[in-house]
Chain length 204, copies 2
DNA sequence: CTAATGACAGATTACATTAATTGTCAATAC
DNA sequence: GTATTGACAATTAATGTAATCTGTCATTAG
């Protein structure tokens, strides 16, 4: 494994930026994984000394968290779009959850290393993750509110319901259960839970 | 740590039984945890040689699984009683889930080592665990059937619904999430999910 | 003839030693 | 003056070795 290849390189200017470091760090983390990667690896890829990294990030963990934060923001950005499609709230809700599941499953396979780190962060309940969950809940809340407004759903507290829906579908999006997402039954299991929850929403 | 104390001892007869080994193994596992405990520890506690253990169990893992199986059976036995209380199915269902949560939380605190092993078995999706889940689903199924029969719940497939309810409450009973069971919000979270699911059952 | 033992080879784990990494900071470059 | 460097102490990880454990089986005891 060659760890000395310059990924981006600090070719242009004499001074480095936080963004440059972040971009390169994401690259390197994706290759080797945040645990195997050293700060010196990131610095080497940029053609700078590892000391310079510490001018922009307090610690390796801060750097790691910043990378995962960007990764999660990109993630919730895609979901935002999925929730914004036109149509009845019921369909939007379903499409949102389908997208959530599809994205998580895909990222789990593709970006194994970053997914594992997200996994770790969830364990330690880092602020990065709770901010991400807040965004998801807000997106859900908006769809539910729309559904109540146009009479599709019974009147209920949108925030409470959004939380309940996320909690009830834990099995299908929480990284702990990622190993189960490849099984054949997982789609059926989701369908069952979805049916139960939908009835709850429609006839509350 | 004194590992040489005889817990049960092979005092009576000259021949040892599978049950004696199991009982002592559970004791020793509880003290030191299944990872730290050696087969020789178990044999020493019984006053026999470690070779004799292999006459009754193929491997250390087989012994460990047998202990966890007993532990889980005792667990589902208690739940069986909780589901058998008289009253409307809705209350029985709630009591069953409350008991499930209470027992899991208690075992998580008290029997840390065995709980961790159960945790491991869940990861490896060992047959021991799926058998245990089958029992739980059957218990739920019975309550739901009773609820349909007396008109409390809408007509639905009891098995499908039982699975859906277990899946939807993953966050509250799956060992992966044990760390979250001490938080203050967990009861509120359960209440929210329960409300959603109950509406689903009542008005499907 | 069955139950139990304990010596043994192969596999695993624990430990101490060695190497590398993190994060700091005085010195250097621009 | 600000940005960057690289030597450094403290911490963390990797390595190799000694000790322990697992599982087998020929032998002994009843």
């Amino acid at each position: 494994m060659n760890k000395s290849g310059r990924a981006g390189g600090n070719t242009s200017s004499g001074t480095i930026s936080r963004e440059q470091i972040l971009a390169t760090a994401e690259d390197v983390f994706r290759r080797f994984g945040p645990t195997k990667t050293t700060v010196m690896d990131v610095a080497r890829a940029l053609g700078i000394s590892h000391g310079s990294v510490y001018r922009y990030f307090d610690s390796k963990i801060a750097l790691r968290n910043a990378v995962v934060e960007i990764w999660l923001q990109r993630f919730s950005g895609k979901l935002e779009k999925a929730g914004a499609v036109p149509g009845p709230a019921r369909q939007r809700l379903r499409f949102w959850f389908d997208t959530l599941r599809r994205l998580k499953t895909a990222e789990y396979r593709r970006e194994t290393e970053l997914f594992a780190t997200y996994h770790e962060l969830v364990q330690d309940s880092q602020p990065v993750v709770s901010a991400y969950y807040d965004v998801l809940i807000l997106q859900l809340e908006n769809i539910i509110t729309a559904g109540i407004d146009n009479g599709e759903f019974q009147n209920c507290d949108p925030r409470t319901t959004a939380c309940a829906m996320l909690d009830a579908t834990t099995l299908f999006h929480h990284p702990w259960h990622a190993a189960a997402w490849h099984g054949k039954e997982i789609d059926d299991e989701f369908e069952r839970v979805w049916t139960l929850v939908m009835y709850g929403l429609l006839c509350a």
